[in-house]
């Protein structure tokens, strides 16, 4: 191909890429959560079509934030403390990020709530109240309150609600651990400290990274200001989180405020991912460039490698944004590892060029090298294309990015680099005295490494390495543990987690997320289904299958009718008892069911309406609600109870996520085995069955040893580790193919070591990532690649007759 034409084509192609990126990036949404791109099974897709609003509920839930503000020490100046709290609440209110805030429950709200309950007693009677009402001594209890001077029951209440149903409903709604204290809903921790509850709903999704960042920084400033104004000097200091594992800033803890909300997790994840991509990416790139410089004593190969990386990454990123509208930041994090792979091509090429024979040119070298390079790269691309069959979008995106990055870099190496290298002479490029000394030192060391390596390549050492790998593999196969819990893949800061544990324990609820989801085509049907679900749940509570549930309080007509019969029965018994004391009610029929529509119900104060449990898409005619289930002891019975109701489904979200990840892990394991098999077939066609089998066995041994080593270090097998194993095979085959074709050359071992070091430098740094998914992935790659490298260099030692001798 004409060189000029190639260069023009190259520039036009890159121009198109840059234009595509500029146009597409604003339209692409970057996700920060592992869960954001979960796959859907056929059943889930069907469910999703029917239960179309369910995910929206979680989006709404993710917008909620809770602050628990510790009640100040009694010695504090009360007015000062009140003002400080007011400033904090007003700061939140006026931040511009809050849709609504529930902090102080004023007298007006209390009155409004009492009136609402009084008006719609029948529609609001819940199972706890109903249980109390059905008791034999209920009438006697009411009498005791009527007689009691301090019970506060006057003639107005007696004549209009003699059964004290309004009080009964209010008592049954009020959670045991909550109290109305100084106008605030308050809660106590196990040490007896009282906290005021502030609840707010954000006006945007936390998926918007900029929004999360701005909100969290505003909140942090407000919390710091609040703490500053707390008078107790000892507690005045804001405690930064302990410095551990990563060097990035952790969310701070505050002595007087606890906070909980998905937005804090999302912000932390996005912030650390961004910082890690920036810092680790820079360190990786810098490290790789430095390594290349030390080997070649020139910056040019580093520059060529950088060009190939940039070309590859640009192509990979373009492919990614063209195919997907939502891109996971985790994908981008994982994709950093590909930089290490694509670097290898330039390294192999430049090393062969540096140690070329006098008659060889850059073009003639690439002509010889392009066969193994294409062979290795195509093998890798086949591997990634197999990953595309995975249902996990994160994996698919990674596969797309990696395949295109490798392709881009490879074409740059084959088409452009020969033109660049023809004008290079590595031995005489740097003339500065200091560098010359450094160069000789480095080349001495490298010569030493090369000569030493050759001494180490003996059969007894090869057998020892193979034996040790065998032992490690056996250990791994016998002791491996599996972990599919997605929550463990996202390492979250301890202080956020400990605050969540403290708040949920104060709320008296377990951490699991189990619920019933109901969706129907009309509000009336929804209320009917809700009535059915609640009646079954009441029975399940009696059977000790669960402890409690949280649902919309509104009753269906059927329940209202039944309750009314019960109310009339109790009323006549009460009237009889009152008559003995000559007390006649002014209104002999104080109870008549008053209709309450769902819309009217939802207008009640949020404490009462629980509107966060309701969802509607009136345009599509879909109405849904969620019933949160707490402390389940017999899940099977609950599932069995609701299995025949097509509009009601039981969901154990954590279990579902674990099952999804377990399925994906299995899928990835199959991909891994399929990849190994495909490789064996390709290798058999190219190198013959014996060598193909040997390579496949060696790569399997490297992978199993990697599992063994990680098991020994206390890690469990998860989907990301399997993903690492797939890459080990992909990169390992690169080593083997290159070394097989070039092992007779003295520079081959140097090329391999340089390639290995480059990859380790890039992927090794990922092991420091705070996202455990990425660090486990990196660790499996590090161990696997080291072992693959050893297998590669020992194969010609062990079976020299099987290795083909390259021509020329």
């Amino acid at each position: 191909m004409n060189s000029k034409f190639t260069v023009i084509l190259f520039f036009v192609f890159n121009l198109l890429i840059v234009l595509t990126i500029i146009m597409r990036v604003p339209k692409v949404h970057f996700e920060s959560s592992v869960f954001s791109l979960l796959p859907k099974t056929e059943k889930q897709r069907q469910d999703e079509q029917f239960f179309s609003l369910e995910e929206k509920f979680f989006q709404n839930l993710d917008k909620e934030v809770i602050f628990l503000v510790k009640d100040d020490n009694p010695s504090h100046n009360e007015a000062h403390a009140r003002l400080n709290l007011e400033n904090f609440i007003n700061g939140l209110k006026n931040s511009g990020y809050v849709k609504n805030i529930t902090a102080k429950i004023d007298a007006h709200t209390t009155k409004e709530l009492s009136q609402f309950i009084f008006l719609y007693k029948h529609a609001l009677l819940n199972y706890k109240a109903r249980l109390e009402l059905t008791k034999d001594n209920y009438v006697k209890k009411i009498l005791s309150r009527i007689y009691a001077g301090f019970a506060g029951i006057g003639s107005t209440e007696l004549n209009h609600d003699p059964l004290l149903l309004s009080r009964l409903i209010l008592d049954s709604i009020a959670k045991e651990h909550f109290a109305l204290h100084n106008g605030f809903l308050s809660i106590k921790d196990k040490d007896g400290s009282r906290y005021k509850v502030i609840h707010l709903v954000l006006n945007q999704d936390h998926d918007n990274i900029e929004f999360s960042e701005n909100f969290v920084s505003t909140v942090e400033a407000l919390m710091e200001q609040y703490e500053k104004h707390c008078q107790n000097e000892d507690e005045n200091k804001v405690t930064p989180a302990p410095f551990f594992k990563t060097f990035f800033e952790k969310p701070k803890t505050y002595p007087h405020i606890l906070y909980l909300g998905a937005v804090f997790y999302a912000n932390y994840a996005a912030k650390t991912s961004k910082e890690e991509i920036t810092v680790l990416g820079t360190v990786t790139l810098g490290g790789v460039l430095l390594l290349i410089y030390t080997v070649f004593a020139s910056l040019k190969p580093a520059l060529y490698a950088l060009f190939s990386i940039v070309e590859g990454v640009l192509l990979g990123f373009t492919a990614l944004i063209l195919i997907y509208d939502n891109i996971s930041i985790i994908t981008l994090g994982l994709s950093l590892s590909v930089v290490g792979i694509v670097c290898d091509y330039t390294i192999y090429y430049c090393i062969l060029y540096k140690y070329r024979k006098p008659f060889e040119t850059a073009r003639s070298i690439i002509d010889k090298l392009q066969k193994p390079l294409l062979f290795a790269a195509l093998t890798d691309i086949i591997a990634y294309l197999i990953i595309l069959y995975s249902e996990l979008t994160i994996l698919q995106q990674f596969a797309v990015f990696a395949s295109f990055t490798i392709s881009g870099a490879l074409f740059f190496v084959i088409l452009i680099e020969p033109m660049l290298l023809d004008n290079s002479n590595f031995k005489h490029t740097i003339k500065l005295r200091f560098y010359t000394h450094l160069n000789s030192l480095i080349s001495l060391n490298l010569n030493f490494i090369v000569s030493r390596s050759k001494q180490l390549l003996n059969k007894s050492l090869a057998y020892t390495v193979i034996f040790l790998c065998g032992v490690l593999s056996l250990y791994g196969l016998l002791n491996y543990k599996i972990n599919d819990d997605p929550y463990s893949f996202m390492t979250m800061p301890e202080n956020l987690k400990s605050q969540e544990v403290k708040i949920t324990s104060m709320l008296n609820h377990d951490n699991s997320l189990n619920y019933l989801y109901l969706e129907t085509d009309s509000q009336d049907n929804l209320i009917s289904s809700l009535g059915i679900a609640k009646s079954y749940l009441d029975a399940l509570i009696k059977d000790h299958c669960l402890v409690d549930y949280d649902a919309l309080l509104i009753n269906d007509q059927e329940t209202i009718k039944k309750d009314h019969v019960l109310i009339i029965k109790k009323l006549s018994a009460l009237k009889e008892s009152l008559l003995k004391a000559n007390l006649r009610l002014k209104d002999p029929h104080p109870y008549s069911p008053k209709a309450l529509s769902l819309d009217e119900y939802l207008l009640a104060p949020s404490f009462m309406s629980k509107s966060h449990l309701y969802l509607a898409n009136s345009e599509k005619g879909r109405y849904g609600t969620i019933i949160m289930l707490y402390d389940i002891t017999n899940q099977d019975k609950i599932i069995d109870t609701f299995k025949d109701f097509h509009e009601i489904k039981f969901v154990d979200r954590h279990k579902i996520l674990c099952t999804v990840f377990a399925t994906l892990r299995n899928q990835c394991s199959h991909i891994f085995l399929g990849f190994l098999l495909a490789l064996a077939v390709v290798l058999t066609l190219r190198l013959g069955p014996k060598l193909a089998l040997l390579y496949a066995l060696m790569l399997s041994l490297a992978c199993c040893s990697s599992i063994g080593l990680l098991t020994l270090l206390g890690y469990s097998i998860n989907i990301f580790m399997i993903l690492g194993l797939i890459l080990i095979v992909g990169i390992g085959i690169n080593y083997m193919v290159f070394y097989t074709f070039n092992h007779t050359k003295s520079c081959a071992i140097l090329a391999l070591i340089t390639a290995l070091l480059t990859t380790l430098m890039t992927i090794g740094i990922l092991a420091f990532s705070s996202v455990s998914a990425i660090s486990v992935f990196a660790l499996s790659l590090i161990t696997g690649l080291l072992l693959s490298f050893m297998m590669t260099i020992y194969i010609p030692v062990l079976v020299p007759t099987l290795i083909p001798v390259p021509k020329g």
Partner: protein, 211 residues
């Protein structure tokens, strides 16, 4: 001159009369009122008093009567044992009120409903000299020849909308309590006969503290 003398006598008479009147009647407010009343109301461990309660419902024009004993127990616990018109026991401690009706126990915790608790437990708080009482009530103490009358008006807007005032009248002990409601209802509780508990009684009532 005589007129001047008369005027001086009248002035002196008025001064002495009102000075005497001021000496006999003492008015105290807020925290001072409670400090003073706590000197009069003493905790009587292992004693009991009979009570009669009359509750008037204005809208129905009916007076409901109930009676029983108020028992002072160890650890400053108070126990209302209602005998008429039916048996009901209410045990009050500093952090909860337990109602026992037909062997079923209902407990009201201070943490759950501090407002209702503090009102319902008012007698307990008085006898146990709760220094925070002045924070919940606007108070006026009138002492006249060993007889005191403490008038309390709730400060909380919610209680204020229901309750007009509480009057506690007594000498060395609380003799009666009158709770007046905003709508004209009232409750009057009269206490009589403070006696020591017999060993049997003491043993019997102590069992109610074991919860």
């Amino acid at each position: 001159m005589k007129l001047l003398h008369y005027l001086i006598y009248i002035f002196l008479f008025i001064t002495i009369f009102f000075a005497k009147l001021g000496y006999a009647q003492e008015l105290l407010y807020g925290q001072e009122a409670f400090t003073k009343i706590f000197l009069n109301i003493k905790t009587n461990i292992n004693k009991k008093t009979s009570y009669v309660e009359q509750k008037y419902f204005k809208e129905n024009d009916v007076l409901l009567k109930s009676s029983g004993h108020l028992v002072f127990l160890e650890n400053n616990a108070l126990l209302f044992a209602q005998h008429e018109p039916f048996n009901l026991t209410v045990v009050m401690t500093d952090d909860r009120i337990m109602e026992i009706l037909d062997e079923e126990k209902n407990i009201l915790n201070k943490d759950n409903k501090p407002l209702i608790f503090n009102f319902t437990n008012l007698i307990f708080r008085l006898y146990n000299h709760d220094s925070n009482l002045y924070k919940d009530f606007d108070s006026q103490l009138q002492i006249d020849n060993n007889t005191f009358k403490l008038v309390l008006k709730p400060l909380d807007p919610l209680l204020k909308s229901l309750i007009l005032s509480l009057e506690i009248i007594g000498q060395d002990e609380v003799k009666s309590i009158v709770i007046s409601m905003q709508n004209g209802d009232y409750t009057k509780i009269d206490f009589t006969d403070f006696v020591n508990l017999s060993p049997q009684d003491e043993k019997h009532w102590k069992t109610y503290l074991e919860f």
